[in-house]
Symmetry: C2
Subunit: 84 residues, 2 copies
């Protein structure tokens, strides 16, 4: 079994209206120290072992479904978990 | 300056329809090895230094706006970045 953590973020050059809205709310609430907010997605996947290389499979899933490679970047962490 | 990374996830006991939808799509696409998908939020904040303790401020923002403590958990990482 593998525990995979995937982080998907908007590319630097892409506007983030959700982040801007959160920044404005924080500002209104008195957190003027906040200079910038960028919002992304965080996914936790549980995978069974297969014949295929897990990293290859994760990359493929990120490219095909979990992220939009035109406007988003992704990174991932793979942990092998031992089932007792 | 601080770079703060905030991860917000649904509590274990809370249903995650978005995660279920992604799992089903992956299944249809041929990734039957995926057993579970949970979807959360990932936020990157840039904060200026203030008189207040940065950890205290981050916790407060998480409780008040960035997460819904009734159904979500959060964790954060704070990095101090040096501006040259």
């Amino acid at each position: 079994m593998y525990k995979v953590k995937v982080y998907v973020t908007l590319r630097e050059s892409v506007l983030d209206p959700q982040g801007t809205a959160v920044k404005k709310s924080l500002d209104t609430m008195g957190y003027q120290a906040v200079e910038d907010v960028r919002i992304g997605k965080y996914m936790e996947l549980t995978l069974e072992k297969t014949d295929r290389d897990v990293e290859e499979v994760v990359k493929e899933m990120c490219e095909r479904l979990l992220s939009n490679p035109v406007i988003e970047d992704y990174r991932y962490e793979i942990e092998e978990s031992v089932v007792l």
